[in-house]
């Protein structure tokens, strides 16, 4: 069981993987990926009950994870590879022809770790609710986790699912919102404001937690607290404050790096800020 310093080292390598993947193919979404590196590392290396060596779609007696904002696939692919779902070298195929690492995650190419396609936004919370209901029907007491972008909350389906989860008492679900206030065209609050997000989820009948998604100790605490809150008749949501581009100074502070790759010089500048802790792929 790694302590949080060790998790931070993994997260640093994950950030290097993100930058190198996106640079290699000159496409992809580095900003949100970097912002969520700590969450993914904590989830996959500490929190989730899973079996990377023997992935099964049905995930019986395991925790499940769904990525709803599929464009941050680089961070997920890195954490899946680093935790043993597939070989590290496969990261070099990201977004290239004949790859299992599609631009947006999919089950279609058989990549271990992925249970539904995502990319068209707003769909993952519904899927997570369905999977959580099946766990209940199967008397499987393990949990379902999901991650969503804050911009993604502009999709109406999210709020259909939010109503549904509360009404159906989907209390074995922990949804996390990557609350970085950035989307492609600018700041979320300028594009289509979410208003008081805590009050909204509370009004929908959810248990609401907040955490700093870029402080490993806080992420671990937040996820553990969320686990404690499951099983009490209400779905749980974590509003996770992050910084888009976290870890690379020139990618932070704006929405600019949502979906553009670094050039050679920028890649070197980024990697200089991210310690190679586990060996590059």
């Amino acid at each position: 069981m790694p302590n949080h310093q060790e998790l931070e080292k993994i997260a640093s390598q994950v950030r290097r993987d993100i930058v190198r993947m996106v640079h290699a193919v000159q496409s992809g979404h580095p900003g949100g990926s970097l912002g969520c590196a700590d969450y993914f590392t904590a989830l996959y290396f500490e929190i989730l009950k899973h079996n990377p060596q023997n992935f099964e779609m049905d995930g019986e007696e395991k925790d499940l994870f769904f990525l709803s904002n599929g464009h941050i696939s680089p961070v997920w692919y890195s954490v899946l590879a680093r935790s043993g779902y597939f070989p590290l070298e496969e990261m070099s195929t990201f977004r290239k022809i004949d790859s299992r690492l599609q631009g947006h995650p999919t089950t279609h190419e058989g990549l271990p770790g992925v249970r539904v396609a995502s990319g068209s936004l707003g769909q993952g919370l519904s899927v997570a609710c369905g999977a959580a209901l099946t766990k209940k029907l199967n008397q499987d007491s393990n949990l379902v986790y999901s991650l969503h972008g804050d911009g993604e909350l502009q999709e109406g389906q999210i709020w259909e699912a939010a109503l549904f989860a509360a009404h159906q008492k989907v209390d074995n679900l922990i949804a996390t919102i990557d609350w970085n206030n950035r989307q492609i065209d600018g700041d979320v609050e300028d594009i289509l404001s979410l208003g008081n997000l805590r009050a909204k989820f509370e009004a929908f009948g959810w248990e609401v937690l907040e955490m700093d998604g870029n402080k490993m100790a806080d992420v671990l605490d937040g996820l553990r607290t969320a686990k404690d809150r499951t099983g009490h008749g209400r779905p749980v949501v974590i509003l996770m404050k992050t910084e888009m581009g976290q870890g690379v100074d020139f990618m932070m502070g704006s929405h600019k790096w949502h979906g553009i790759p670094p050039n050679d010089e920028q890649k070197e500048a980024a990697l200089a800020q991210l310690e190679e802790t586990l060996g590059d792929f």
Binding site: D58, E60, V116, A117, Q123, S126, A132, L133, D140, E160
Partner: protein, 316 residues
């Protein structure tokens, strides 16, 4: 003398409801979801018998499709129920990404398809759903023709691994296929053999085709009537065999000409065996309020229109 007769009329949606109830008894993994149309879809019997396996999704179809996709993870076989319009057009992207592209074993069960929904009018009379669904890679598309066939199809799709679109309707319609039949997905049924013309029909238009065949036989025209209940995958062999025998084809369906059964058959024949052909279908129009029979007449889907199409193609 007619080869096909009926003693009663029943709605195909009731065939679905009866099939679903039976499935509930047979298979503990079958779960059902409905978007506030439980009575209309005849899902109440399943709901009452298996409340723990029935999920009321409310008027939130997009979420219902996503929930259904998620339910498959862990081995459930979800059957979603709502009107055809809300089962397809309204939720196309959810079906495309979370169900079809993700390869999920969801059965999308759609009632009130086509003009025969009747008085509610064009907002609800979807005539594009077969096209929408058949375009999705890996999607099976089925449109049964009467109560018994719909019940049998409902049972059969639970055994099929993969996404299925099952389309049926609202009105009471002649029941003329056998009770307790075995339904084979993708297998065309020859209801009547003939030598001069092949009529390929699906859904409510199968009965119209049998009526048309009767009228044509009286004029000395030998008609083959083939029921294509599975539009995708299409029984290519059956279509090519019959078209080769008769040399003339008419298709009949309660759907737009663009994207429907006729379009699939035309594509097959054009590539493999060009054959003179006419299509009985709605031609680039929206429907309107009215009684099912009136609408069939006004929009050119009745047995008279099928007879006229046969005569047109026989002159070519």
């Amino acid at each position: 003398m007619a080869k096909y007769a009926y003693t009663e009329k029943k709605d195909t949606r009731s065939g679905f409801g009866a099939g679903l109830l039976e499935l509930g008894k047979q298979n503990p993994n079958v779960v059902a979801l409905c978007a506030d149309l439980t009575g209309s879809l005849k899902m109440d019997a399943f709901r009452d018998a298996f409340p723990e396996r029935f999920i009321q999704a409310g008027i939130a179809e997009a979420n219902m499709m996503g929930v259904a996709a998620g339910l498959t993870i862990g081995g459930k076989i979800p059957f979603t129920g709502t009107f055809a319009n809300f089962s397809t057009g309204r939720v196309y992207d959810q079906i495309r990404q979370s169900i079809a592209y993700s390869g999920k074993n969801v059965k999308i069960c759609a009632s009130h398809a086509g003009l025969t929904l009747g008085e509610d009018g064009a907002t609800h009379q979807i005539l594009e759903d077969i096209g929408l669904m058949k375009m999705l890679p890996g999607m099976t598309v089925i449109n049964p023709c009467d109560y018994h066939q719909t019940k049998a199809a409902t049972l059969a799709i639970a055994e099929h691994e993969g996404p299925v679109y099952l389309r049926f309707g609202r009105p009471k319609w002649p029941v003329f296929t056998p009770e307790n039949q075995t339904f084979e997905i993708g297998k065309a049924l020859t209801f009547q053999e003939g030598n001069d013309i092949s009529i390929f029909a699906t859904g409510h238009c199968v009965w119209e085709s049998l009526k048309a065949a009767e009228a044509l036989e009286e004029e000395g025209i030998s008609v083959e009537v083939i029921n294509i209940h599975t539009i995708k995958p299409l029984d290519q062999e059956a279509v090519l065999r019959s078209a080769a025998k008769t040399g003339r084809v008419v298709t009949a369906e309660e759907h737009q000409r663009n994207g429907g059964l006729g379009d699939s058959i035309a594509q097959l024949l054009a590539m493999k065996q060009p054959t003179p052909m006419e299509m009985v279908a709605v031609n680039d129009q929206f429907g309107e309020s009215g009684k099912p029979e009136e609408l069939f007449e006004k929009y050119g889907l009745s047995s008279k229109d099928i007879v006229a199409a046969v005569k047109r193609v026989m002159k070519r």
